[in-house]
Amino acid sequence: MNGLVYLKNVVTLELDQEKCNGCRMCTIVCPHAVFEIQNKRAVIVNRDLCMECGACEKNCSEKAISVRSGVGCAAGIINGILRGTEPTCDCSGSGSSCC
């Protein structure tokens, strides 16, 4: 990822290794190779590359991973503040702007 790294030490990603069954699913779904399997358990090896998309949490059958997922999108965050909702892009429905 030549130069495409975002802010350090901000992400909410947590892994409870005790619960991990070594199924590798997190290493498969993560688009930024944040996880690796070492000694049959998942470990976080590239924490600052995490973009909090939530794919790992969603596909962890043992609920060993937690992350506050959402859109890493300034327009989406402004959208959320204006509407009093969670950060959201205006992708579906009648909206004309999109992520």
């Binding site: 990822m1 030549n2 130069g3 495409l4 790294v5 975002y6 802010l7 350090k8 901000v10 992400v11 909410t12 699913m25 498969i28 779904v29 993560c30 688009p31 930024h32 190779a33 590359l49 995490c50 973009m51 909090e52 998309c53 939530g54 794919a55 969603k58 596909n59 059958s61 506050r68 997922s69 959402g70 859109v71 890493g72 999108c73 300034a74 327009a75 989406g76 965050i77 950060p87 959201t88 892009c89 992708c91 579906s92 429905g93 909206g95 004309s96 702007s97 999109c98 992520c99």
Partner: protein
């Protein structure tokens, strides 16, 4: 609804689709890349046949955004396969998965709706990896009996993935954001301003007529056109040049990247004697160009493929007040500069 890609019907009267793009598909793609009709570019959901699939053929799942659909069917050239299209309201896989429309519920629903268990005798569906944001593989298995196999991130890698026995390399699993990837997205960024692209220059044009003696239409025209051009340059710097050069611009925060490129643009304009007339107007331009370029660059976080919600929130906490302050002060100084020559 677009149906021109249909080439016939396969077994069980499933519509058969072409894996080759027509001229029309190419033209539509260019249009959508420029944001024209982008929010209503959909295909009918359900099951499609690629080539002449049988009960042992693989099943690929994708979104009903036609741009997505086109890339997937083109990648399936020469294959016999099934293509299951989910209702994502015309949104691409990754964004739709983030919203949950490309998700466990819709995938389970479509598998049942098309009676997939009767169409194929295996129990596997190949879901694009980025769909994992909305799809929970173990829940789909529990709901339908089908195992979700996560395919590569990019449709172009499907063939290699299948040839390797449904195995993706590390490379296929990672999202990149190359210069070319970013260039393709810039037209949509440029179209972002919409009405503001007319309104803001118009306001500046009007302000430019102000002077100590009252109002001069000649002055509005003379100085105004220059102002409009400067604004346009600031705009393109923020949402065109900054995204294109993203990894090579210092700073991690997008707002700072935009501020820097904005100021570089301002310095260049000043060197060519194209910025303000006098110190006051020049300062006002630095504030205006900087805030505009910074704000637009910050907005590119949503288009980029590596920014986190926590990170963007942290960045915005300082960036947004800064941008508002700079823009406000900039406009005030700009107006003042019309009356005081420094």
């Amino acid at each position: 609804m677009h149906t021109r890609f249909l080439t016939g019907t396969s077994i069980a009267s499933v519509p058969q689709i072409s894996t080759v793009w027509s001229i029309n598909d190419v033209l539509e793609t260019i249009k959508v890349r420029w944001s024209v009709g982008r929010m209503n570019y959909k295909v009918e959901t359900g099951l499609y046949a690629v080539g002449n699939p049988t009960e042992i053929s693989p099943v690929f799942v994708t979104a009903n955004f036609k741009l997505t659909f086109d890339h997937v069917r083109r990648a399936l050239y020469g294959m016999d396969a099934w293509l299951l299209i989910l209702d994502t309201k015309g949104i691409n896989v990754w964004c739709a998965a983030g919203k949950g429309t490309f998700g466990t519920k819709e995938l389970s629903r479509q598998i049942k709706l098309v009676n997939l268990d009767q169409v194929v005798n295996h129990r596997k569906v190949i879901v694009p990896q980025l769909g994992a944001v909305g799809v929970s593989a173990h829940e789909v298995k529990a709901n339908t009996g089908f195992t979700v196999v996560y395919g590569p991130v990019r449709a172009d890698d499907i063939k290699a993935f299948m040839n390797a026995g449904m195995k993706a390399t590390k490379e296929m699993r990672e999202v990149h954001f190359s210069f070319w990837d970013r260039l393709k997205l810039i037209p949509v960024e440029l179209a972002y301003g919409k009405l503001y692209l007319v309104l803001v220059p118009a306001v500046f044009l009007i302000i430019c007529g102000l002077n100590r003696k009252g109002y001069s239409v000649d002055l509005a025209y003379q100085d105004g056109l220059r102002s409009v051009l400067i604004l346009l340059i600031a705009y393109v710097t923020g949402c065109g040049i900054t995204p294109a050069l993203l990894p090579w611009i210092p700073f991690r925060r997008f707002a700072l990247k935009g501020l820097l490129t904005g100021w570089i643009a301002a310095i260049l304009l000043m060197l060519f004697h194209f910025l303000g007339q006098g110190i006051l107007e020049n300062i006002s331009w630095f504030l205006i160009i900087g805030s505009l370029s910074s704000f637009l660059a910050m907005n590119f976080t949503g288009t980029s493929t590596f920014t986190s919600l926590s990170g963007v929130q942290k960045e915005m906490k300082t960036a947004v007040p800064g941008q508002i302050g700079m823009a406000g002060l900039g406009v005030i100084l700009f107006i003042v500069s019309k009356f005081i020559s420094l």
